[in-house]
Amino acid sequence: VSGTDEADALLRGPPDEGYRGFGITRTMVPGALRLKLTGELDLENAPIAEHHIRRAEEEALDLALDLRGLTFMDAAGLGVVIGADRRARGAGRRVVVCVGSGCVRRLIELTRAERSLEIVDDLDRDAPSRNGGSLW
């Protein structure tokens, strides 16, 4: 079971001066859900990201947050990621975070969030899902 829903298209705003649209793409695999975030994750878009993450939590799924497509993330966005990780740990679920390089990794480094988050370089290689060995 895999697929991509319409969230990506719905959430992308028109490009504007100094703006970069924010998007989320959902990809389901057995027992897990990958959310690929693109654009800017800040105070404005954090509630959208949180909404989609909480919706995934209602499905009791392990979660992979692919942040490599983000062009900007600040502490408001990081708070969404850390909140998801904390809730998952409390519920016996798993959240893996792929940050790639660039601004998101820098924020992770500055805040030392890598101490609490499960960060991987390659979702397919480093984070096999628990269900049947399927990959994220």
Partner: protein, 142 residues
């Protein structure tokens, strides 16, 4: 209602009025980094620091009532870029713990070369960024 937003010299003013405050916040954040790019300053660092400072103002300065102004002033010094984010809100002493990780000021302090905060009668955050090659020399994941 659209935010009152404009540029006067190197100053930007955005009026914090829900629900468009965060839109103004993003627009305001975009200005200093663009300016920074022309002056050999760490563009991404300026963007993140300004975002944190403006976020603090949006979240904490005017928790009740009709809102108010958040001002951004950017000036070029011989060795640094100076960005001042200020508001006329309730000041630091009265700030509530409304959400967030509480790491905004810590981030700002790590990103700029000097930081001055005046929290009496509104809040004024003055961030100075060294002008150089713009290279990031902070901590790295190992």
């Amino acid at each position: 209602m659209m935010p009152a937003y404009g540029m006067a010299g190197h100053s930007a003013v955005c009026r914090h009025e829900e629900p468009v405050a965060v839109t103004a916040h993003r627009a305001a954040r975009a200005r200093p980094p663009r300016f920074a790019a022309d002056h050999a300053v760490d563009h991404d660092g300026v963007a993140l620091a300004v975002s944190e400072a403006v976020t603090n103002a949006v979240v904490h300065a005017y928790p009740d009532g009709p809102g108010g102004q958040v001002r951004i002033h950017v000036s070029v010094e011989p060795l640094a870029l100076l960005v001042i984010v200020s508001d006329d809100g309730q000041g630091l002493a009265a700030r509530s713990r409304r959400g967030g990780l509480g790491v905004g000021l810590v981030l700002i302090a790590r990103l700029c070369s000097s930081l001055e905060i005046d929290g009496a009668g509104g809040t004024r955050v003055a961030m100075r960024f060294s002008r150089g090659d713009g290279a990031y020399a902070g901590p790295r994941l190992v």
